[in-house]
Symmetry: C2
Subunit: 205 residues, 2 copies
DNA sequence: TTCCTGTCGAACACTTTGTTCGGTTTTGTG
DNA sequence: CACAAAACCGAACAAAGTGTTCGACAGGAA
Protein backbone atom coordinates (compact mmCIF):
# COMPACT_ATOMS: atom_id res chain seq x y z
CA UNK A 1 0.00 0.00 0.00
CA UNK A 2 1.13 3.56 -0.67
CA UNK A 3 0.78 4.51 2.94
CA UNK A 4 -1.39 2.51 5.18
CA UNK A 5 -3.44 3.96 7.98
CA UNK A 6 -2.44 7.50 8.48
CA UNK A 7 -3.41 10.76 6.98
CA UNK A 8 -0.07 11.19 5.35
CA UNK A 9 -1.06 14.46 3.80
CA UNK A 10 -1.23 15.86 7.30
CA UNK A 11 2.38 14.96 7.88
CA UNK A 12 4.76 17.85 7.37
CA UNK A 13 6.28 15.70 4.67
CA UNK A 14 9.97 16.33 4.94
CA UNK A 15 9.94 16.34 1.17
CA UNK A 16 13.21 14.52 0.55
CA UNK A 17 12.37 14.68 -3.11
CA UNK A 18 11.07 11.16 -3.60
CA UNK A 19 9.51 11.35 -7.04
CA UNK A 20 6.34 9.46 -6.04
CA UNK A 21 5.12 6.59 -8.15
CA UNK A 22 3.09 7.66 -11.15
CA UNK A 23 0.33 5.27 -10.25
CA UNK A 24 -0.03 7.00 -6.92
CA UNK A 25 -0.24 10.37 -8.55
CA UNK A 26 -2.87 9.14 -10.95
CA UNK A 27 -5.14 7.62 -8.37
CA UNK A 28 -4.82 10.64 -6.12
CA UNK A 29 -5.66 13.05 -8.86
CA UNK A 30 -8.41 10.78 -10.02
CA UNK A 31 -9.99 10.75 -6.60
CA UNK A 32 -9.61 14.48 -6.21
CA UNK A 33 -11.23 15.08 -9.55
CA UNK A 34 -13.99 12.62 -8.84
CA UNK A 35 -14.88 14.25 -5.55
CA UNK A 36 -14.69 17.71 -7.02
CA UNK A 37 -17.02 16.82 -9.86
CA UNK A 38 -19.41 14.97 -7.62
CA UNK A 39 -19.68 17.94 -5.30
CA UNK A 40 -20.92 19.98 -8.23
CA UNK A 41 -23.61 17.38 -8.83
CA UNK A 42 -24.95 16.38 -5.45
CA UNK A 43 -24.80 17.34 -1.81
CA UNK A 44 -21.47 16.51 -0.26
CA UNK A 45 -23.01 14.64 2.61
CA UNK A 46 -24.96 12.45 0.23
CA UNK A 47 -21.86 11.41 -1.66
CA UNK A 48 -20.63 7.94 -0.78
CA UNK A 49 -17.24 6.37 -1.06
CA UNK A 50 -18.73 4.10 -3.65
CA UNK A 51 -19.74 7.07 -5.78
CA UNK A 52 -16.25 8.43 -5.61
CA UNK A 53 -14.41 5.26 -6.56
CA UNK A 54 -16.87 4.50 -9.31
CA UNK A 55 -16.33 7.93 -10.79
CA UNK A 56 -12.59 7.74 -10.38
CA UNK A 57 -12.55 4.16 -11.57
CA UNK A 58 -10.53 3.02 -8.63
CA UNK A 59 -10.76 -0.08 -6.48
CA UNK A 60 -12.34 0.16 -3.08
CA UNK A 61 -9.29 -1.04 -1.21
CA UNK A 62 -7.17 1.41 -3.13
CA UNK A 63 -9.22 4.26 -1.82
CA UNK A 64 -8.69 3.24 1.76
CA UNK A 65 -5.01 2.76 1.07
CA UNK A 66 -4.77 6.46 0.36
CA UNK A 67 -7.31 8.14 2.59
CA UNK A 68 -8.93 7.39 5.89
CA UNK A 69 -12.37 8.28 4.65
CA UNK A 70 -14.39 10.70 2.60
CA UNK A 71 -13.58 13.61 4.83
CA UNK A 72 -9.88 12.96 4.73
CA UNK A 73 -10.06 13.15 0.97
CA UNK A 74 -11.96 16.41 1.16
CA UNK A 75 -9.41 17.91 3.51
CA UNK A 76 -6.74 17.00 1.05
CA UNK A 77 -8.60 18.55 -1.81
CA UNK A 78 -9.19 21.74 0.14
CA UNK A 79 -5.59 21.95 1.13
CA UNK A 80 -4.70 21.83 -2.53
CA UNK A 81 -7.16 24.54 -3.43
CA UNK A 82 -5.89 26.56 -0.52
CA UNK A 83 -2.35 26.41 -1.80
CA UNK A 84 -3.57 27.39 -5.21
CA UNK A 85 -5.21 30.44 -3.69
CA UNK A 86 -2.16 31.26 -1.67
CA UNK A 87 0.08 31.21 -4.75
CA UNK A 88 -2.38 33.38 -6.56
CA UNK A 89 -2.34 35.87 -3.72
CA UNK A 90 1.42 36.08 -3.65
CA UNK A 91 1.62 36.50 -7.38
CA UNK A 92 -1.19 39.03 -7.68
CA UNK A 93 -0.81 41.24 -4.65
CA UNK A 94 1.62 44.11 -5.06
CA UNK A 95 4.02 44.58 -2.16
CA UNK A 96 2.46 47.77 -0.83
CA UNK A 97 -1.23 47.86 -0.14
CA UNK A 98 -3.60 50.36 1.37
CA UNK A 99 -5.95 47.57 2.28
CA UNK A 100 -5.59 45.72 5.56
CA UNK A 101 -5.16 42.42 3.94
CA UNK A 102 -5.67 40.67 0.65
CA UNK A 103 -9.39 40.16 1.12
CA UNK A 104 -10.07 40.87 -2.50
CA UNK A 105 -8.25 37.76 -3.56
CA UNK A 106 -10.68 35.72 -1.51
CA UNK A 107 -13.66 37.21 -3.22
CA UNK A 108 -12.09 36.79 -6.62
CA UNK A 109 -11.17 33.21 -5.94
CA UNK A 110 -14.64 32.46 -4.67
CA UNK A 111 -16.10 34.10 -7.71
CA UNK A 112 -13.95 32.08 -10.04
CA UNK A 113 -14.86 28.83 -8.32
CA UNK A 114 -18.35 29.91 -7.43
CA UNK A 115 -20.02 26.64 -8.34
CA UNK A 116 -17.77 24.67 -6.09
CA UNK A 117 -17.98 27.11 -3.23
CA UNK A 118 -21.72 27.26 -3.33
CA UNK A 119 -22.15 23.52 -3.57
CA UNK A 120 -19.77 23.15 -0.68
CA UNK A 121 -21.47 25.69 1.54
CA UNK A 122 -24.93 24.32 1.07
CA UNK A 123 -24.01 20.67 0.93
CA UNK A 124 -23.07 20.03 4.53
CA UNK A 125 -19.32 20.28 4.14
CA UNK A 126 -19.28 23.99 4.67
CA UNK A 127 -17.64 23.78 8.08
CA UNK A 128 -14.40 22.54 6.67
CA UNK A 129 -14.21 25.07 3.90
CA UNK A 130 -15.00 27.97 6.16
CA UNK A 131 -12.62 26.80 8.82
CA UNK A 132 -9.84 26.48 6.33
CA UNK A 133 -10.55 29.90 4.89
CA UNK A 134 -10.84 31.50 8.28
CA UNK A 135 -7.53 30.05 9.38
CA UNK A 136 -5.75 31.42 6.33
CA UNK A 137 -7.27 34.80 6.83
CA UNK A 138 -6.73 34.90 10.56
CA UNK A 139 -3.10 34.05 10.12
CA UNK A 140 -2.55 36.80 7.59
CA UNK A 141 -4.32 39.29 9.81
CA UNK A 142 -2.39 38.38 12.87
CA UNK A 143 0.84 38.97 11.02
CA UNK A 144 -0.34 42.34 9.88
CA UNK A 145 -1.43 43.35 13.36
CA UNK A 146 1.66 42.06 15.11
CA UNK A 147 3.72 44.09 12.73
CA UNK A 148 1.87 47.20 13.75
CA UNK A 149 2.47 46.42 17.38
CA UNK A 150 6.17 46.07 16.76
CA UNK A 151 6.11 49.48 15.19
CA UNK A 152 5.09 50.79 18.57
CA UNK A 153 1.34 50.86 18.33
CA UNK A 154 -0.64 49.96 21.42
CA UNK A 155 -3.87 48.15 20.76
CA UNK A 156 -6.86 48.31 23.05
CA UNK A 157 -7.89 44.81 22.10
CA UNK A 158 -5.80 41.64 21.93
CA UNK A 159 -4.81 40.77 18.40
CA UNK A 160 -6.29 37.26 18.44
CA UNK A 161 -9.69 38.71 19.16
CA UNK A 162 -9.38 41.27 16.42
CA UNK A 163 -8.15 38.70 13.93
CA UNK A 164 -10.94 36.33 14.77
CA UNK A 165 -13.48 39.12 14.55
CA UNK A 166 -12.41 40.29 11.14
CA UNK A 167 -11.93 36.82 9.71
CA UNK A 168 -15.34 35.73 10.89
CA UNK A 169 -16.93 38.81 9.41
CA UNK A 170 -15.14 38.12 6.17
CA UNK A 171 -16.30 34.53 5.86
CA UNK A 172 -19.79 35.53 6.81
CA UNK A 173 -20.02 38.19 4.14
CA UNK A 174 -18.50 35.81 1.64
CA UNK A 175 -21.06 33.15 2.46
CA UNK A 176 -23.93 35.55 2.19
CA UNK A 177 -22.64 36.97 -1.06
CA UNK A 178 -22.45 33.53 -2.62
CA UNK A 179 -25.82 32.46 -1.29
CA UNK A 180 -27.37 35.56 -2.91
CA UNK A 181 -25.83 34.67 -6.26
CA UNK A 182 -23.28 37.42 -6.00
CA UNK A 183 -25.39 40.54 -6.48
CA UNK A 184 -22.21 42.63 -6.71
CA UNK A 185 -18.94 42.07 -8.50
CA UNK A 186 -16.02 40.91 -6.33
CA UNK A 187 -14.46 44.36 -6.22
CA UNK A 188 -17.61 45.96 -4.96
CA UNK A 189 -18.35 43.51 -2.18
CA UNK A 190 -14.74 43.76 -1.15
CA UNK A 191 -15.02 47.51 -0.94
CA UNK A 192 -17.94 47.09 1.41
CA UNK A 193 -16.01 44.69 3.54
CA UNK A 194 -13.07 47.05 3.71
CA UNK A 195 -15.32 49.97 4.49
CA UNK A 196 -16.68 48.07 7.44
CA UNK A 197 -13.38 46.69 8.62
CA UNK A 198 -11.12 49.71 8.39
CA UNK A 199 -12.90 51.92 10.93
CA UNK A 200 -12.58 49.16 13.52
CA UNK A 201 -8.90 48.87 12.94
CA UNK A 202 -8.29 52.57 13.03
CA UNK A 203 -10.16 52.80 16.30
CA UNK A 204 -7.81 50.25 17.79
CA UNK A 205 -4.81 52.38 18.58
CA UNK B 1 -48.66 7.98 15.59
CA UNK B 2 -48.61 11.51 17.03
CA UNK B 3 -47.81 13.08 13.72
CA UNK B 4 -46.48 11.01 10.96
CA UNK B 5 -43.94 12.18 8.48
CA UNK B 6 -43.53 15.87 8.80
CA UNK B 7 -41.44 18.12 10.90
CA UNK B 8 -44.40 19.44 12.73
CA UNK B 9 -42.29 21.64 14.91
CA UNK B 10 -41.49 23.61 11.80
CA UNK B 11 -45.13 24.35 11.24
CA UNK B 12 -46.20 27.74 12.50
CA UNK B 13 -48.54 25.81 14.75
CA UNK B 14 -51.65 27.90 14.85
CA UNK B 15 -51.79 27.00 18.53
CA UNK B 16 -55.55 26.64 18.86
CA UNK B 17 -54.92 25.62 22.42
CA UNK B 18 -55.07 21.88 22.02
CA UNK B 19 -53.62 20.66 25.33
CA UNK B 20 -51.38 18.02 23.70
CA UNK B 21 -51.38 14.51 25.07
CA UNK B 22 -49.21 14.04 28.13
CA UNK B 23 -47.52 11.04 26.59
CA UNK B 24 -46.41 13.16 23.70
CA UNK B 25 -44.98 15.79 25.98
CA UNK B 26 -43.12 13.18 27.96
CA UNK B 27 -41.49 11.42 25.03
CA UNK B 28 -40.54 14.73 23.46
CA UNK B 29 -38.96 16.02 26.59
CA UNK B 30 -37.33 12.68 27.14
CA UNK B 31 -35.76 12.73 23.71
CA UNK B 32 -34.65 16.32 24.11
CA UNK B 33 -33.06 15.54 27.41
CA UNK B 34 -31.42 12.42 26.10
CA UNK B 35 -29.86 14.23 23.19
CA UNK B 36 -28.77 17.12 25.34
CA UNK B 37 -27.06 14.83 27.83
CA UNK B 38 -25.48 12.72 25.16
CA UNK B 39 -24.02 15.77 23.48
CA UNK B 40 -22.21 16.52 26.71
CA UNK B 41 -20.74 13.04 26.65
CA UNK B 42 -19.75 12.32 23.08
CA UNK B 43 -19.40 14.00 19.71
CA UNK B 44 -22.74 14.85 18.17
CA UNK B 45 -21.91 13.16 14.90
CA UNK B 46 -21.04 9.95 16.70
CA UNK B 47 -24.37 9.79 18.47
CA UNK B 48 -26.79 7.34 16.96
CA UNK B 49 -30.54 7.18 17.06
CA UNK B 50 -30.14 4.01 19.06
CA UNK B 51 -28.15 5.85 21.71
CA UNK B 52 -30.85 8.44 22.00
CA UNK B 53 -33.80 6.12 22.34
CA UNK B 54 -31.92 3.91 24.77
CA UNK B 55 -31.16 6.87 26.95
CA UNK B 56 -34.67 8.24 26.68
CA UNK B 57 -36.13 4.80 27.10
CA UNK B 58 -38.33 5.14 24.08
CA UNK B 59 -39.23 2.73 21.32
CA UNK B 60 -37.56 3.04 17.96
CA UNK B 61 -40.76 3.51 16.03
CA UNK B 62 -41.84 6.13 18.52
CA UNK B 63 -38.80 8.19 17.75
CA UNK B 64 -39.55 8.22 14.06
CA UNK B 65 -43.15 9.06 14.80
CA UNK B 66 -41.98 12.33 16.28
CA UNK B 67 -38.93 13.34 14.33
CA UNK B 68 -37.60 12.74 10.88
CA UNK B 69 -34.13 11.96 12.09
CA UNK B 70 -31.41 12.91 14.51
CA UNK B 71 -30.96 16.32 12.94
CA UNK B 72 -34.62 17.13 13.11
CA UNK B 73 -34.51 16.44 16.81
CA UNK B 74 -31.52 18.69 17.20
CA UNK B 75 -33.20 21.50 15.34
CA UNK B 76 -36.09 21.19 17.69
CA UNK B 77 -33.88 21.28 20.71
CA UNK B 78 -32.05 24.32 19.42
CA UNK B 79 -35.27 26.10 18.68
CA UNK B 80 -36.27 25.57 22.26
CA UNK B 81 -32.99 26.88 23.59
CA UNK B 82 -33.30 29.78 21.21
CA UNK B 83 -36.67 30.73 22.60
CA UNK B 84 -35.31 30.43 26.07
CA UNK B 85 -32.58 32.87 25.13
CA UNK B 86 -35.03 35.19 23.47
CA UNK B 87 -37.21 35.34 26.56
CA UNK B 88 -34.18 36.00 28.67
CA UNK B 89 -33.18 38.83 26.39
CA UNK B 90 -36.55 40.47 26.55
CA UNK B 91 -36.72 40.15 30.30
CA UNK B 92 -33.17 41.28 30.97
CA UNK B 93 -32.57 44.05 28.49
CA UNK B 94 -33.71 47.47 29.59
CA UNK B 95 -35.71 49.37 26.96
CA UNK B 96 -33.03 51.94 26.15
CA UNK B 97 -29.56 50.78 25.29
CA UNK B 98 -26.37 52.44 24.18
CA UNK B 99 -25.23 49.21 22.60
CA UNK B 100 -26.15 48.35 19.05
CA UNK B 101 -27.87 45.20 20.00
CA UNK B 102 -28.17 42.78 22.87
CA UNK B 103 -24.90 41.02 22.13
CA UNK B 104 -24.13 40.68 25.80
CA UNK B 105 -27.04 38.33 26.29
CA UNK B 106 -25.48 35.99 23.78
CA UNK B 107 -22.22 35.87 25.62
CA UNK B 108 -23.95 35.40 28.94
CA UNK B 109 -26.13 32.64 27.60
CA UNK B 110 -23.15 30.92 26.04
CA UNK B 111 -21.30 31.22 29.29
CA UNK B 112 -24.14 29.74 31.27
CA UNK B 113 -24.46 26.82 28.87
CA UNK B 114 -20.78 26.65 28.06
CA UNK B 115 -20.51 22.87 28.22
CA UNK B 116 -23.25 22.39 25.73
CA UNK B 117 -22.03 25.11 23.41
CA UNK B 118 -18.51 23.80 23.38
CA UNK B 119 -19.54 20.21 22.82
CA UNK B 120 -21.78 21.38 20.04
CA UNK B 121 -19.18 23.48 18.30
CA UNK B 122 -16.51 20.83 18.34
CA UNK B 123 -18.75 17.86 17.74
CA UNK B 124 -19.71 18.34 14.14
CA UNK B 125 -23.10 19.92 14.73
CA UNK B 126 -21.69 23.41 14.97
CA UNK B 127 -23.17 24.50 11.67
CA UNK B 128 -26.68 24.34 12.95
CA UNK B 129 -26.01 26.13 16.19
CA UNK B 130 -24.09 28.91 14.52
CA UNK B 131 -26.65 29.29 11.77
CA UNK B 132 -29.43 29.54 14.27
CA UNK B 133 -27.54 32.06 16.32
CA UNK B 134 -26.54 34.07 13.32
CA UNK B 135 -30.10 34.25 12.10
CA UNK B 136 -31.36 35.53 15.42
CA UNK B 137 -28.65 38.11 15.56
CA UNK B 138 -28.97 39.15 11.94
CA UNK B 139 -32.66 39.67 12.36
CA UNK B 140 -32.23 41.86 15.41
CA UNK B 141 -29.59 43.87 13.65
CA UNK B 142 -31.60 44.39 10.55
CA UNK B 143 -34.44 45.78 12.59
CA UNK B 144 -32.12 48.15 14.33
CA UNK B 145 -30.59 49.35 11.08
CA UNK B 146 -33.87 49.68 9.23
CA UNK B 147 -35.10 51.82 12.06
CA UNK B 148 -32.17 54.13 11.61
CA UNK B 149 -32.88 54.37 7.92
CA UNK B 150 -36.47 55.32 8.60
CA UNK B 151 -35.21 58.07 10.82
CA UNK B 152 -33.63 59.56 7.76
CA UNK B 153 -30.14 58.17 7.85
CA UNK B 154 -28.53 57.22 4.57
CA UNK B 155 -26.25 54.25 4.71
CA UNK B 156 -23.34 53.74 2.38
CA UNK B 157 -23.71 50.00 2.57
CA UNK B 158 -26.85 47.86 2.17
CA UNK B 159 -28.25 46.74 5.51
CA UNK B 160 -28.19 43.02 4.71
CA UNK B 161 -24.47 43.20 4.16
CA UNK B 162 -23.90 45.08 7.36
CA UNK B 163 -26.10 42.73 9.35
CA UNK B 164 -24.38 39.71 7.93
CA UNK B 165 -21.00 41.22 8.60
CA UNK B 166 -21.68 42.01 12.22
CA UNK B 167 -23.48 38.76 12.94
CA UNK B 168 -20.67 36.73 11.43
CA UNK B 169 -18.10 38.62 13.43
CA UNK B 170 -20.15 38.02 16.54
CA UNK B 171 -20.44 34.28 16.07
CA UNK B 172 -16.79 34.06 15.21
CA UNK B 173 -15.69 35.84 18.34
CA UNK B 174 -18.08 33.76 20.38
CA UNK B 175 -16.68 30.55 18.93
CA UNK B 176 -13.13 31.61 19.58
CA UNK B 177 -13.92 32.70 23.09
CA UNK B 178 -15.45 29.36 23.93
CA UNK B 179 -12.68 27.40 22.28
CA UNK B 180 -10.16 29.27 24.41
CA UNK B 181 -12.03 28.38 27.58
CA UNK B 182 -13.35 31.89 27.97
CA UNK B 183 -10.24 33.82 29.00
CA UNK B 184 -12.40 36.86 29.76
CA UNK B 185 -15.72 37.23 31.54
CA UNK B 186 -18.76 37.71 29.32
CA UNK B 187 -18.91 41.44 29.97
CA UNK B 188 -15.34 41.95 28.92
CA UNK B 189 -15.47 40.02 25.67
CA UNK B 190 -18.69 41.80 24.87
CA UNK B 191 -17.00 45.15 25.40
CA UNK B 192 -14.38 44.13 22.89
CA UNK B 193 -16.98 43.11 20.40
CA UNK B 194 -18.80 46.38 20.83
CA UNK B 195 -15.59 48.33 20.56
CA UNK B 196 -14.93 46.70 17.23
CA UNK B 197 -18.46 46.92 15.93
CA UNK B 198 -19.43 50.46 16.85
CA UNK B 199 -16.85 52.29 14.72
CA UNK B 200 -18.09 50.42 11.65
CA UNK B 201 -21.64 51.43 12.32
CA UNK B 202 -20.79 55.03 12.98
CA UNK B 203 -18.85 55.17 9.76
CA UNK B 204 -21.93 54.05 7.88
CA UNK B 205 -23.86 57.26 7.67
C1' DT C 1 14.24 -8.70 -17.22
C1' DT C 2 13.28 -8.65 -12.43
C1' DC C 3 11.53 -7.08 -8.49
C1' DC C 4 8.73 -4.19 -5.94
C1' DT C 5 4.79 -1.77 -5.10
C1' DG C 6 0.39 -0.29 -6.19
C1' DT C 7 -4.01 -1.80 -7.70
C1' DC C 8 -8.02 -4.76 -8.38
C1' DG C 9 -12.31 -6.68 -6.77
C1' DA C 10 -14.88 -9.80 -4.49
C1' DA C 11 -16.17 -11.22 -0.12
C1' DC C 12 -17.03 -10.20 4.56
C1' DA C 13 -18.54 -8.59 9.17
C1' DC C 14 -20.51 -4.78 11.05
C1' DT C 15 -23.16 -0.64 11.90
C1' DT C 16 -26.86 2.40 11.14
C1' DT C 17 -31.00 3.74 9.15
C1' DG C 18 -35.91 4.09 8.48
C1' DT C 19 -40.31 1.31 8.10
C1' DT C 20 -43.92 -1.93 9.23
C1' DC C 21 -47.29 -4.02 12.08
C1' DG C 22 -49.69 -6.67 15.64
C1' DG C 23 -50.21 -6.22 20.35
C1' DT C 24 -50.26 -3.42 24.71
C1' DT C 25 -50.78 0.64 27.58
C1' DT C 26 -52.14 5.24 28.61
C1' DT C 27 -55.22 9.37 28.11
C1' DG C 28 -58.98 12.14 27.71
C1' DT C 29 -63.75 12.20 27.98
C1' DG C 30 -68.61 11.01 28.50
C1' DC D 1 -66.05 3.96 35.90
C1' DA D 2 -65.78 2.53 31.22
C1' DC D 3 -64.40 2.80 26.58
C1' DA D 4 -62.67 4.40 22.36
C1' DA D 5 -58.90 6.82 20.54
C1' DA D 6 -54.29 7.79 20.47
C1' DA D 7 -49.71 6.76 21.58
C1' DC D 8 -46.26 3.51 22.53
C1' DC D 9 -43.65 -0.86 22.27
C1' DG D 10 -40.41 -3.86 20.10
C1' DA D 11 -39.08 -7.20 17.16
C1' DA D 12 -38.18 -7.95 12.61
C1' DC D 13 -36.80 -6.33 8.14
C1' DA D 14 -34.72 -4.49 3.89
C1' DA D 15 -31.45 -1.39 2.40
C1' DA D 16 -27.37 1.14 2.39
C1' DG D 17 -22.98 2.18 3.74
C1' DT D 18 -18.45 1.43 6.07
C1' DG D 19 -13.91 -0.26 6.52
C1' DT D 20 -10.93 -4.53 6.14
C1' DT D 21 -8.80 -8.58 4.17
C1' DC D 22 -6.48 -11.26 0.77
C1' DG D 23 -4.89 -13.59 -3.34
C1' DA D 24 -4.12 -12.45 -8.02
C1' DC D 25 -2.41 -9.25 -11.18
C1' DA D 26 -0.13 -5.40 -13.65
C1' DG D 27 2.65 -1.20 -14.20
C1' DG D 28 6.75 1.17 -13.07
C1' DA D 29 11.63 1.71 -11.61
C1' DA D 30 16.36 0.21 -12.02
Amino acid sequence: MPQARTNKAAEPNGDAGKPVDRRVQRTREGLHHALFDLILEKRYDKITVQDIIDRANVGRSTFYAHFLDKEDLLENLLRQLGEQLHDETVRTTPPADDHIVHSLTFFVHAHANRDFYRAMLSGGGGDLLLDTGRKHFTEALRQHLDQRVEEGAVLKIPTPVVAQYLAGAMMSVLTWWLAQDMPYPPEEIDDMYQALALPSIEALT
